[in-house]
Structure formats: C-alpha cells, structure tokens
C-alpha cells in the first residue's frame, strides 16, 4: 500500500480526471444548446448553470449531504433500489464535484461556440454535413482555446475543491480524503510543514500540467476568419 501522501495525491488526480472527463461529455452538448438554441427562458438556464458558483461550497455540500441521506427521497431511492449510499464515498464526491463544476466547463465552451462565425456552420451544412459532424469537425477545432480553458478551469477547480468534499466526503483516507482536505487537516493540526509539502506538490504539479496545456494551446492563438 502506498504512503498516505501518495495515496491522497492519486485520489486527488483521479477525482479531477474523472470529473473533467464526465463534464466534457455532458458539457459539450449542453454548451451547444446554450450557444445556439433560441428559446425564451434561455437567460434563466444560463443563470441556473452559474448557480453553483454563487452558493458557498460548504453550504452546497450541506445540501448535497442532506440529499444523499437515506431520509431524503433521492438518497432513499438510491439505497432502496440500488443499495447505493453516496455520502462518504468516492462516487459521492465525484457526483457532487461534477454537478458543481458545471459552470467551469460550460461557460467557456458556450462563449467559444458563440464566437464562431455563423457562416462556417452554414458552409458545413451546405456541404451536406449533419449538425453532429459539423460540431466535431468544424466547431470544436475552431474553439480550441476555449476548450482548453474549459478543461483547465474544471481540472484546476476540482483539485482545489474543498468545501463540498469536506461536507459530503468526510475525510476518509483512500476514499474521499483528497489533497485539499488533507492540507486543511494538517493546517488544523498546526502541522504546517506537512501542509506546505502538500500545497507545494499540488502547486507544482498543477503548474506544470497547466503550463503544458497552455503551451499546446499556444499554436491556436488568435485566428483570422477566412
């Protein structure tokens, strides 16, 4: 078994990667819808998607915790039908993390899609391509900077997420004890050296990953509309 330090870091990475991947799958169609669909209550949907930012994480965490509990219909349904209890498990914090990182994925993507000139889509349609093909072959490649920002923000936010996980996850080593919780713990224990060690590792790893991401991004800097 790896040391708790390594175990915590692996768990943190796993949570961040899973959350980002899941949100990519959800976020792409959602952003497409938000960017191009025209319906009356779109501003309401947009505001809803931003909501996770507005509420303090600890509060959101509290409400999620309540929702997961077997006394609540959602938790009851899960435990009775699937024999699943989400609170204090990795799956539980993953779900919470996915729900509350949505704005980080969706906002940059939506903006990126909006900035793509209409006639590129039109050109693709006149070439007989479906909306799906157009999305993957014309839109996505042309919003690469936004896509990368979305991934980077989501990933980074997951690594830093703390309030929700503290509430919902409860600091279980190997299961829900991610780095942010571990650091908090060490600070609380006044073990500043251990906290610094975590913080530094986190900082450096993320820094390197983000620098790499942005280096790749560099090539697709400003572009001219053709």
């Amino acid at each position: 078994m790896p040391s708790p330090f390594i175990q915590t870091l692996i768990l943190t990475g796993k949570l961040a990667i899973y959350t980002t991947s899941i949100l990519l799958v959800i976020g792409l169609p959602l952003s497409y819808f938000m960017a191009y669909a025209r319906f009356r209550f779109k501003p309401v949907l947009e505001a809803l998607v931003s909501m996770p930012l507005v509420l303090p994480p600890s509060v959101i965490g509290y409400y999620i915790l309540v929702a997961y509990s077997p006394n609540f219909w959602f938790g009851k349904l899960l435990s009775e039908w699937f024999d699943v209890q989400l609170a204090f498990t990795f799956e539980g914090i993953l779900l919470a993390s996915v729900v509350f990182s949505i704005p980080f994925m969706v906002q940059p993507l939506t903006n990126g899609l909006r900035a793509v000139p209409v006639n590129l889509r039109e050109a693709s349609y006149t070439l007989g391509k479906s909306k799906t093909t157009t999305f993957f072959r014309v839109l996505i490649p042309n919003i690469k900077p936004s896509l990368i920002t979305a991934i980077a923000l989501t990933f980074a936010h997951c690594i830093g997420e703390f309030g929700i996980i503290l509430m919902v996850g409860g600091n279980m080593p190997g299961e829900t004890r991610v780095a942010s919780i571990a650091i908090y713990d060490e600070v609380q224990a006044l073990n500043f050296d251990a906290a610094n060690q975590y913080a530094l590792t986190l900082f450096l790893t993320s820094f390197v990953i983000l620098t790499l991401i942005y280096t790749v991004n560099r090539k697709s800097d400003a572009w001219k509309m053709i």
């Binding site: 590129l120 050109a123 349609y125 006149t126 070439l127 007989g128 391509k129 014309v138 572009w223 053709i226």
Partner: protein
C-alpha cells in the same frame, strides 16, 4: 434527377437602398440548366441563393425540386440545408480555418476520392497550397478553394455567389471552363451570380435579371441583352485613353470593357470636344470586320 424542375415561389421583406423592398421571385428552372443571376448590388441575389440553400427562411412561399418540397410556408415544411444536396460558394468564402486547403476541399465528399481532389487542386492552381491553412492564402486563392470545395462534392444543384470576382482575367477564364465542365459532365443545375457581362455570355444558358427584388427578365442571354441594347450595328462604349496627332487626322485610343483596345481615326472637327478620359461610343455604319479563332 434529370427532370427535377425547380419551382421557386418565395417572398421575403428586406431593406434596400430605397427603403423597404419585397424580394419576390416566381420562376421555374429546368433541370441541368446553368442560370446566371445578374443585377445591381443589393438587388437580392445572395438572399435568393440563401433561400434556395435553406440558410435564410422566406417569409412565405414554396420551393419545390421535382417531387420534393424543400420549403413550404403553408405546409410548414423547411428542409434543413444539409439535406438539400447543394453546393454553395459564399461571397465571403467561409473556408474552415482549422483545415488545410486539401481538407477544406475534401470535407464535403461522401466517399473520399483523392484523385478527383488532386485533379481539382491542379486545375485550380492550388496544388502548392494543399497543406496550407486558408489564413495564409491571397484573396483570389481563397476564392478558388471555396469553388473547389463546392465542386468536390458533385452536388445536384450548384449555387455560386460571385465565385470568380476576385480573380484576374487569366485564371478567371480557366475557372469558367471548370464550372462549365462540372456542369456538363454531371448535368448539375447551376445558379451563378456574376457582375461581369462577358462572364454572363460565356457561362449562361439563361440569365435571370433581378432588380429591386423582382425578376425583370429571364431567358437566353442574347434575348435579354442584345436585343435590348443593340440594333444590328456595332456600338462599343469605351474611354479615350490617348489622342495622338497624325498628319491630317487624329488617332484615338479607346479602351472598352475588360481588355479591349480600339484605335479610331478622327478628324479635327470630331476631336474638338474630346479629351483624354472622356467616355465615348464607337460605332460604325459600314463595318466589315473579320473573325479569327483564337
């Protein structure tokens, strides 16, 4: 299909230079015909093509192609552009910035046909640029890519919005041939916008004259233009670019149209009111020119 007659009957309200204008077009176009749209800037040519392509929705009317209804405001039908089997060249090109020239051209093909694409690139003078992003092309090169992209798909119905406007005479002629070739090989019904009368005569089987959103004429080019403008004699308008004195007369150099230069002799009396830069008509009552094939 060979007998897919295109029946247009569409209305759309627009704003023209003289206030509100209703674009209102009723016409049937036979399958396989090459029709050139000719009309002033703002007459509604682009809008008409966009309505046929399904990119702009008419206020009301119907668009039928053979038995298929592409649009019908009465029946609430509006087939999306990707189903309409068309090729469209945009006035502003709309190339995909993320793809190389080759991939732009190949994008629309259902079955990748590398030989055909290579041939297109060759004929369009683009071979050297196959792996370039469109951003780094000149204006005329972009326009050629846009045309090649539309042709690569071999659609049943071609909509070309000033596909050659940014090109010089040489390459223009060779691309006109490409359009004619594509048209004759697969018998594609083609609608092309052009501002250039010579191009109209060179390409059009039929001309559609559009003015202020209405069809002002539809027929063979010579019926539309020649009978209106010419009454049997030679009449050429042009600009005097040079007046030279010879012994007893003057030699005027008149430039007409695109590439035409005519030398005209004139006498003192004729020349009195003429200076370089004047626009003149050159005509002749007795004119026996010869023709020679080029």
């Amino acid at each position: 299909m060979e007998n897919d007659i295109i029946e247009l009957d569409v209305q759309k309200e627009l704003v023209s230079a003289y206030g509100r204008m209703v674009l209102s077009i009723q016409i049937s176009i036979s399958a396989g015909e090459l029709v050139v749209l000719f009309g002033e800037s703002g007459a509604g040519k682009t809008t008409l093509l966009r309505m046929i392509a399904g990119l702009t929705t008419p206020d009301n009317g119907t668009i039928k192609v053979g038995d298929e209804v592409w649009f019908s405001s009465a029946r609430g039908i509006n087939m999306p552009p990707q189903k309409r089997n068309i090729g469209f060249v945009f006035q502003d090109y709309a190339l995909f910035p993320n793809m190389s020239v080759y991939n732009n051209v190949a994008y629309g093909q259902k079955d990748r046909d590398k030989i055909f694409i290579d041939e297109l690139l060759q004929n369009f003078g683009l071979t050297e640029f196959a792996n370039r992003k469109p951003e780094k092309l000149s204006g005329g090169q972009k326009q050629r890519v846009a045309l090649a992209r539309a042709l690569a798909r071999k659609p049943k119905f071609m909509l070309l919005d000033e596909p050659l406007s940014a090109l010089d005479a040489g390459i223009r002629t060779s691309l006109q041939n490409e359009i004619l070739k594509a048209h004759s090989i697969s018998n594609t019904t083609t609608l092309l916008v052009s501002h250039d009368l010579a191009e109209v005569f060179r390409l059009a089987q039929k001309v559609m004259l559009i003015q202020d959103g209405k069809i002002k004429g539809f027929g063979r080019p010579d019926d539309i233009f020649i009978n209106n403008q010419i009454s049997g004699k030679v009449q050429i308008t042009g600009t005097i670019v040079k007046i030279e004195t010879q012994d007893t007369f003057y030699l005027l150099t008149v430039v007409t149209g695109m590439n035409q230069i005519i030398k005209v002799t004139a006498f003192e009396s004729d020349i009195a009111e003429l200076t370089e830069g004047d626009r003149v008509m050159v005509f002749s009552k007795a004119f026996n020119p010869l023709v020679m094939k080029l």
